[in-house]
Symmetry: C2
Subunit: 364 residues, 2 copies
């Protein structure tokens, strides 16, 4: 096996069709750039439930642990909505994150020049926006114990989840944020509710402490999550890197993504620790969901997934030039006026999922 | 004592100066509308810390329990930021909410016609916006036990909070949301993370169950919190009433408030249960904070506090006509082009806190 071992998990809804466009770009790279990937494909989410009864088979989990990188489409759909909590499509995704220990989720919120008008915000507030959200991904209330629903008598029930962070969990994701900030504008805004939650207070203390341990070239600020959520709407360009926990990151990264008006354009990376051999587990996925309403109609925007593949090249395979190629290709395609339905605008040409793939291949 | 027993807690920062304008309106009502309030004033937050060493004295708590309504300004400021978690200004506010059992926090996000351009969103997305967020206020991760920070050996620490809801806590706030929806557009969107948290799953189940118990004239939908936070930015007018928990409500209500572009305009009400005598504990406060940067400069916008007083009249004193008077007065003042700095726009006249109060009194 080559060292470019990539596991593709298309998932549900529009997942398979957007992933098909990635396969075409991979084929192009095989031919034109003389790089070969060792690609395997498997099921996750609803499609895994239909075949195996669980949203992620153990065998698939094993493959993910072995792969150099995992590229995931999207999971979920109405046909699996009424399943029991423990076997819903989302659990497949959460299991991958947890067992691969992908504690740092990088979610860029970028405004593409050609798409400024797609934002619901006034253009001057959004043009040139470039935020990186670093979301802790394997801790907090998503995985904390105790959790569950219990009977407490008199026909009453109680639902419980636990928000919990240890200092080492906080430190490793903080380091990722500080390192990333150095390659950007060297500013990190750490977000929690330290005024209300002790877990947030510990977060703030530990981030501050670590800042003093060799990161004081970074400009560090702290913000409460409610305020951050307002500031993103009021003046998003004030931010460079936002560092936050799993639950706040879930909401804030979606808000930030929506600000750009082009959710169908945004990739993400989830990274683990670097081991002794320099290897780092990683999974890449578009920020958008499985969009069951347009699945199978060749309408979905494949660019977020293609850009997630570009992130794969950059972060997992040290192929920055190839990543640049794809990213520049995407900008060219947008500049030429090609648009899928989600980002359609006056004077542009509407294209299908495949049509967008064609256009990117031509641009490459 | 009359039955119009009002406790005023101006708090910190701009709290005292905006509250002064309320006192002038109360005086006007005493003279012109032949209603008398029995008003008491006391300390909360930083100002209480300075005097009593705690953010809310027991005596003040007792007064709040006795009052027909509490009107609060704002708490907090940099001089109290480094105090211990347990005695920070915010704890005063949280103690009032908890001991008065104000479980239903009503936060309207209204776009005032005269202020459409103040929004960072495009005008067509925001004109006519009228959302009511009903936030659970005495449960969830704000108050759940166990909580705290503990040493776990090897120099490591762990921060813990507990997200917990019982069915009866969910039911009482759901009832408030359904009742309110009936006086509006009869639509409720209930928001949680039932895909990730069992507490959210219980929330969804119980809201659904209650909907079937005599509320099926209400159109009920469910949304995940991350999606809601996106939808608020994408198309806020899709919502009528949003029902959600304490932590999600904290963020979503701030996002919604900021959408209107006029945070300095938005009031809120926090309500308890109605007792056998028909009495209901209640506290009213502007959504904005204590704005220490402009405190004491006669610059702050008093309208959110004046509108909070209007809500007091409507919800606690059954004085809907007087509430209408104030609300119409505010619209008149805005239409006349008077603006404090926070909502200033081209072609308008800038006025001070007191100048805004003058203008409102003239409009009345
Ligand atoms: C699908 C869901 C479990 C997931 C999350 O809540 O993390 C999604 O919203 C995300 O942000 O990737
Ligand atoms: C001041 C703070 C404790 C409070 C909260 O988090 O509830 C505030 O943000 C609010 O929304 O009223």
């Amino acid at each position: 096996a080559s060292n470019k071992n990539l596991l593709i998990l298309p998932g549900d809804g529009i997942g398979p069709e957007v992933m098909r466009e990635v396969r075409r770009v991979v084929d192009w790279m095989d031919k034109r750039r003389a790089v070969t990937f060792d690609i395997d494909e498997d099921l996750v989410g609803g499609s895994a439930i239909d075949k195996h009864g669980v949203p992620l088979a153990d065998e698939t989990m094993d493959k993910a642990m072995e792969a150099d990188a995992v590229l995931l489409g999207a999971v979920g759909g109405p046909q699996w909505d009424n399943l029991d909590f423990s076997i819903k499509p989302e659990r497949g995704l959460l299991r991958l994150r947890k067992e691969m220990e992908l504690f740092a989720n990088l979610r860029p919120a970028l405004c593409f020049d050609a798409l400024v008008d797609a934002s619901s915000l006034k253009p001057e507030l959004i043009a040139g926006l470039d935020i990186m959200i670093v979301r802790e991904l394997t801790g907090g209330v998503y995985f904390g114990e105790p959790r569950g629903i219990e009977d407490i008598g008199n026909g009453e029930r109680r639902g419980i989840n636990t928000q919990v962070y240890t200092t080492s969990e906080i430190r490793r994701v903080t380091e990722v944020a500080f390192d990333l900030a150095r390659k950007r504008d060297s500013r990190v805004c750490s977000v929690e509710k330290a005024n209300v939650m002790e877990a947030g207070l510990l977060w703030r203390e530990e981030v501050t402490k670590m800042h003093g341990e060799g990161f004081d070239d970074i400009e560090l600020s702290h913000m409460y999550a409610d305020n951050c959520s307002m500031q993103l709407v009021r003046a998003p360009k004030q931010f460079d890197v936002i560092l936050t926990d799993n639950l706040f990151g879930d909401m804030l990264s979606d808000t930030a993504a929506m600000l750009t008006g082009s959710l169908g354009m945004l990739p993400s990376a989830s990274l683990g620790a670097t081991d002794e051999t320099g290897r780092r587990k990683a999974m890449y996925e578009p920020v958008h969901g499985s969009a069951p309403d347009i699945a199978g109609e060749n309408k979905a925007n494949p660019l977020a997934t293609l850009l997630s593949f570009a992130m794969t090249l950059r972060y997992s395979f040290d192929m920055g030039d190839e990543a640049d190629l794809i990213e520049n290709g995407v900008n060219k395609v947008l500049a030429s006026g090609k648009r899928t339905g989600d980002i359609m605008a006056d004077g542009c040409e509407i294209v299908s999922t495949e049509g967008m793939g064609d256009a990117l291949l031509r641009a490459l």
